[in-house]
Structures are given as structure tokens and as C-alpha cells.
């Protein structure tokens, strides 16, 4: 049932784009907005409905950095390590967040699927260096302490939500 519904929405997106292989990138963008990642079976489904090979779809999906084939945490943190952020010690911020969430290179997502932490090259927010993005929201002029406080804020919010939802 879950799967059928999944494909229905994908099919809708494909239809809205008139089944045009040339619109593959916008299609993947919309699908990812929907699922927050691109599941393998969905990619194969898209290939079939556009009449192109799965290899082509995977090729495109893996080429662009905004696409992801792995599920990400609810909060996707991207710490900028572009040159402008780098001179402002962005790696210190990255390391502080990793440490706080008990993550390391090779393990980017927390076990509870709440956070994924990665570095990126330039967010185009260099005026605010060092900067990071959590989902769509940009945070700038960070220090390791500021970054930790932002994470704490999210954890608190999530805990309160859990309590509301499951508590009493």
C-alpha cells in the first residue's frame, strides 16, 4: 500500500513534466523534495516511465551534489568548507558538531535518523562565513559554541514534540 502510494505521486510528477526525458533533472528535484532522497526503486520506476535506461537516470542522480540516494536525517546539516568559510575556521565548527552528535567521517547520520552532518563547498553565503545550512535555513558567522547551541535547540524542540505526542 505504502509503495503503491509512493509510485502514484512519482507518476504524477512524471506526468506533470510530460514524460520528457529532457526534464529528468526537474523531475528528480521534485521527487527528492517529496521523499527527501531518491530511493533506488523510484529511480528505476522513473527510468521506465520516461523510456530511458536506469543507467542514465542513476548517472544523473549521482552526478549532481544536491541529489542523494541515501536517506538523510530529519535535520540535514551542511557545513560550508568553501575557501571563504575555510579561512574563518569552518572545520572547527564541523568537528564540534560531529563530536556533539558522536559522528565521524564515514558515519554521517545519527542512529535515531535525526541528524545528518556533511561538509559542502560554498553555499554562496560567503558574506556570512563561516556558514552552514540546516535543511533550507542558513546560519552564519558561526562559532563552535553557537553551532552547538543551535543543535541543542533542535534537540530540545524534538524532545518537547516527542513529549507532546507520546507523553501523558
Amino acid at each position: 500500500m505504502e509503495t503503491i502510494r509512493k509510485f502514484e505521486r512519482v507518476l504524477e510528477i512524471v506526468e506533470q513534466n510530460k514524460r520528457q526525458p529532457s526534464r529528468l533533472i526537474p523531475i528528480l528535484q521534485e521527487v527528492q523534495t517529496e521523499y527527501r532522497y531518491l530511493p533506488e526503486e523510484v529511480l528505476t520506476f522513473i527510468a521506465t516511465s520516461l523510456g530511458i535506461s536506469p543507467a542514465k537516470v542513476f548517472g544523473v542522480a549521482t552526478f549532481y551534489s544536491l541529489f542523494t540516494l541515501k536517506p538523510k536525517g530529519k535535520y540535514h546539516i551542511r557545513v560550508c568548507n568553501g575557501t571563504a568559510c575555510h579561512v574563518k575556521s569552518s572545520m572547527g565548527i564541523y568537528k564540534a558538531i560531529q563530536k556533539k552528535l558522536k559522528l565521524h567521517d564515514g558515519k554521517e547520520t545519527t542512529d535515531d535518523m535525526l541528524f545528518t552532518v556533511e561538509t559542502v563547498n560554498c553555499l554562496g553565503a560567503c558574506g556570512l562565513a563561516p556558514a552552514m545550512v540546516i535543511n533550507e535555513e542558513v546560519f552564519g558567522q558561526l562559532t563552535p559554541e553557537k553551532a552547538e547551541r543551535i543543535i541543542d535547540g533542535i534537540i530540545e524542540k524534538e524532545a518537547a514534540y516527542e513529549l507532546d505526542y507520546h507523553g501523558a
Binding site: Q29, L66, T83, V87, N121, C122, G127
Partner: protein
């Protein structure tokens, strides 16, 4: 009619929004309403004022006082003190601003201020209002051209202006248009390159956020001159506010008949739409961008054929940078000779820069072509932060060159820099003070290139991987003496054999680092 005694102009751009600009704006509206001042004081939105890391920034007119780091808590005080009593709230007043003018150093050494070209409206008009753009003379050039001029005449004028591409390659814009106009094809395209992936660069973003109609007018004129029916804006997916403002601008222009079918009743039809990038630096390269627009991986094509004859879907296509196109309306409104009053004989006009790193007032500036690096850092950027010494500047983004103190007096324009094998590139100027670790900087640049190498050609794919291995070793103090020369040697081979400019351009940051800092690198061994 109401007599408005004060205007409060709040900068709403991607960085001020983050600092809470919308909340401050609402707080002003509420505060004025509470005090019954809503008819006397107007609160307006505008683009970036050029100050980029100072929280919420706003100007109060007629005094023209600029406040920064404003929070909602400061709002009652500003209204009480400034608006009602005429006393400035000194602790928030900005004393040092990045220059809001184009400054010219006269032979006598004195500085003279001139109006800006590309950023003329930025931080002055409301970017979301087509009426305000029109009130500043917007769409005047386009309407005159489409009603009265032949496409060939437009191209002649652009050629005479001497405008060259601001996206890096500095090719004559008039010639590019001419090639595309003469190319055979029933369908032709104009593409605006707003991919801006060069680390440290965000000038196109601020141009778009501050004055989206200027770009649309530039694209409209380009479309008419070339004989194109469609225009695409290929924009970085992360530029959410730019995309929103462009979408609104396109809708508003269509509603007034400035885009779409039969523009100004001339029979000329032209449609503009937005295409969002999915994150790949190489897609800023024009042929990779075209591949991406066609729904493929962004691998560069071999040239020739050039896009002007065989571009998008094999049709004649002009690709221009945002800043290049944003120059067009002003050139056509004021004439080529007016434009040549700026800059140098060989490189007329201005250049928009983002100046960042260890400077006192990082910001968005527009300077004449030929302005010295010293003036840019010390006059526009307020000098080095905390009174430290200047070490070097990375000019032109990651694919640019490190310039040391001996280059401070070089003229910043395409031709002069070429003599020193440096480039203006994307217009990013990253200033580094004496405490900067240069090996770490180079390591950052090389990691960037390894990540962004598209994998299409062997020299670039393997070369970037090797370079990263070596620089990591050196940075860990595990390097060998030969490693330093190996970096140079590999980048030379890449320069000579890579398929596209991405792999070729690494030679520049590496060779320039070694030119200035060979000893510092050796000291890490």
C-alpha cells in the same frame, strides 16, 4: 497626499533575512502604527546595501543614516530617538561602509566618486516592484530599441561599448551576439549563466536579489538583438530568494507585456523561464550547462562547434553571465561612449566584486576596470582587519591566483592581469592576513577541485586525486621535498592536457602559491 517625512529602507537579502530582517520590518510597521506615525513614515524594502556581515541593515532617509545589527528590541529606540527627536542612535550607526560609488583615482592621487552601473539600483529600489524599476528609467532602453532600432544597430552599439563577458573568459559580448545572430537556425536561445559555483563568489546572487528586472531587461535586449525566442536563466538551486524574486519579476513583466507574445506590439515574442541547477561546479562551464539543461550529466562538450552556432538542442545559443547582461540596459540607455568613460581603453566599464576574508568591511562593491588591488582592499574594503599585515589575496575564486604584496599596485582588469598570468575570474577577492596558513588554504582549494572534477577526462580525474594525496601529506608534515615540485609538475600536465578549463585552471592557484610561499611550504617538510 501624505507628506512623508522619513523613509526607512530595510535591506532584505539572503543574509539580512537570516539575521531577522523581516521581523525588524514588522516591528517598525507595528511601532509606527502604535504611535500613529504610519502616514508620516514609510517602511520600504530594498536589496543589499553592500554590507554583508552586519546583521539587519537599514537606512533612514532623508538623513541617509545607516544602522546595522538592528534587532526588534532596537526598533522603539530608533523611532523615539531618530524619527521623533532627530537624534541618531549612535551605537548602531555604521561608520565604515564599503563604498557605494565607483571611485576613480585621478592623476593627482585624489579620489572622485562616480555613479555605479550594474549596482545602480541595488539598495535603493524595492527589487520586488516593477514600478520602481520603471521609475528609475527601467525598460526605457528596451522599449526604444524594440520600437526604433534594428537588431544589427543594437549589436553595433554593444560592440562599440567594448563590453566583454564578466563570467571569466572576457570575450566580446557584441561579437558573441553577432555570431549567434548570423548563425542559421529557426530557433535561437539566450541563456543567462547564474550558476555561480566558484567558492567565495556571490556577486550574481546579490545583483539578482537587488535588481532582478535589470537582468530581465538585459536578456530582453539580447533576445531582440540575436533574434531569439526563448531565454533561460540557469540558476544555482540554493539561491532561493533570487529565484523567488526572478519568478515575481518575470510574472510582473509578462503582465505589462514586456515579456511574452508581441512585445510592445512589435511582433517580437520572447519567453523567459528559470531552470534550477542541481549542484555541480562544472555546470558553470557553458557547454556543461547546456548538457545539464538537456537533462544530462554536466559533462563539457568539445569546442568547436561553439554554442553560438550549435548550443542548446543544437540551436544557436548565446550564454552570458548575470553581470554581463546587467550592464546592457545602462549601455543602451546612455550610449557606448558614456560606458567607455569608465575603466580603461582596452577594458571599459566596471567590475562587481565580493571582497571577503580578513578585511575590515567585507562587502559587495563595484569598481572601475583598472582600479588597483590596493585601492580595492584599502579604500573599498577598509584595509586589513585588526591592524594585521596583508599576506595575500586569492583573486578570481578557487580557479584564480594568489597575489602577494608585490601585486597590490597592479591594475585589476582582464588585460593587465593577463600579463602576470592572473585572472579576474568570478570577481571574488579573498583577503588573507599574516596569520593565514597557506598550506591549509591550498589544501582546501585542491580538495574542492577533486570533489568537482566531473570525471570525464583522465588528466583531471587522476590529477586532482594525486594532488590531494600530496597536499594532505604536506599538511600533515609527512611530505618530502620533491612533493612541492610534483604539485607543480602535475598541474602543468593537467593544464596542457585536460579536456576543459576546470582541469586546466588548477595550475594557477598552485603555481602562484609556490611563487610566493615555496619557503613556507618547505618549512612544513
Amino acid at each position: 497626499m501624505n507628506l512623508v517625512r522619513n523613509h526607512i529602507l530595510i535591506s532584505i537579502d539572503s543574509s539580512t533575512i537570516m539575521a531577522g530582517a523581516r521581523a525588524v520590518e514588522r516591528a517598525f510597521v507595528d511601532e509606527l502604527l502604535n504611535r500613529g506615525l504610519q502616514d508620516e513614515v514609510s517602511v520600504l524594502e530594498t536589496g543589499s546595501l553592500g554590507l554583508i556581515n552586519r546583521g539587519v541593515v537599514l537606512v533612514v532617509y532623508p538623513e541617509g543614516v545607516i544602522y546595522a545589527d538592528v534587532t526588534t528590541k532596537d526598533v522603539p529606540e530608533i523611532v523615539e530617538e531618530h524619527i521623533l527627536k532627530g537624534r541618531f542612535v549612535e551605537r548602531l550607526v555604521v561608520k565604515e561602509m564599503p563604498k557605494q560609488h565607483v571611485i576613480k583615482r585621478e592623476k593627482t592621487g585624489l579620489l572622485k566618486e562616480q555613479p555605479r552601473i550594474v549596482l545602480r539600483n541595488s539598495g535603493i529600489i524595492n527589487p520586488e516592484s516593477i514600478d520602481e524599476y520603471i521609475a528609475t528609467g527601467g525598460y526605457e532602453a528596451a522599449s526604444k530599441i524594440i520600437n526604433e532600432m534594428k537588431p544589427e544597430e543594437v549589436i553595433e552599439e554593444v560592440k562599440r561599448s567594448g563590453l566583454t563577458g564578466r563570467g571569466g573568459a572576457a570575450f566580446s559580448t557584441g561579437m558573441k551576439w553577432d555570431f549567434a545572430r548570423r548563425a542559421k537556425g529557426d530557433v535561437k536561445y539566450i541563456i543567462c549563466n547564474a550558476d555561480e559555483g566558484e567558492p567565495g563568489t556571490f556577486k550574481d546572487r546579490l545583483i539578482l536579489e537587488g535588481d532582478p528586472h535589470k537582468l530581465l531587461e538585459g536578456m530582453l535586449i539580447a533576445g531582440y538583438a540575436v533574434g531569439a525566442q526563448y531565454g533561460y536563466i540557469y540558476i544555482r538551486g540554493e539561491y532561493v530568494l533570487s529565484i523567488e524574486r526572478l519568478e515575481k519579476a518575470i510574472k510582473d513583466a509578462e503582465a505589462l507585456g514586456l515579456l511574452g507574445e508581441n512585445i510592445f506590439g512589435s511582433g517580437f515574442s520572447y519567453h523567459v523561464s528559470i531552470k534550477k541547477g542541481a549542484g555541480a561546479y562544472v555546470c558553470g562551464e557553458e557547454t556543461a550547462l547546456i548538457e545539464s539543461l538537456e537533462g544530462k550529466r554536466g559533462h563539457p562538450r568539445s569546442k568547436p562547434p561553439y554554442p553560438v552556432t550549435e548550443g542548446l538542442w543544437g540551436k544557436p545559443t548565446v550564454i552570458n553571465n548575470v553581470e554581463t547582461l546587467a550592464n546592457i540596459p545602462e549601455i543602451m540607455r546612455n550610449g557606448a561612449s558614456w560606458f567607455r568613460g569608465y575603466g580603461t581603453e582596452k577594458c571599459p566599464g566596471t567590475k562587481v566584486y565580493t571582497i571577503i576574508g580578513h578585511v575590515a568591511t567585507p562587502g559587495l562593491i563595484e569598481a572601475e576596470m583598472g582600479t588597483t588591488l590596493r585601492d580595492i582592499i584599502f579604500e573599498y574594503g577598509g584595509g586589513i582587519k585588526n591592524g594585521k599585515k596583508f599576506k595575500c589575496a586569492l583573486v578570481g575564486g578557487a580557479a584564480g591566483a594568489f597575489l602577494g604584496p608585490d601585486m597590490l599596485d597592479v591594475n585589476m582588469d582582464f588585460v593587465s592581469l593577463r600579463e602576470y598570468s592572473a585572472v579576474l575570474g568570478s570577481g571574488a577577492i579573498l583577503v588573507m592576513d599574516e596569520d593565514t596558513n597557506i598550506v591549509e588554504m591550498l589544501k582546501n582549494v585542491l580538495h574542492f577541485f577533486r570533489h568537482e572534477s566531473c570525471g570525464h577526462c583522465v588528466p583531471c580525474r587522476l590529477g586532482t586525486a594525486q594532488l590531494v594525496k600530496i597536499i594532505d601529506r604536506v599538511a600533515d608534515s609527512k611530505g618530502k621535498r620533491e612533493d612541492i615540485d610534483k604539485l607543480l609538475r602535475i598541474s602543468e600536465v593537467m593544464r596542457d592536457t585536460s579536456f576543459c578549463p576546470l582541469g586546466q585552471s588548477l595550475y594557477l592557484p598552485i603555481s602562484s602559491t609556490l611563487k610566493y610561499f615555496r619557503d613556507e611550504m618547505l618549512s612544513m617538510i
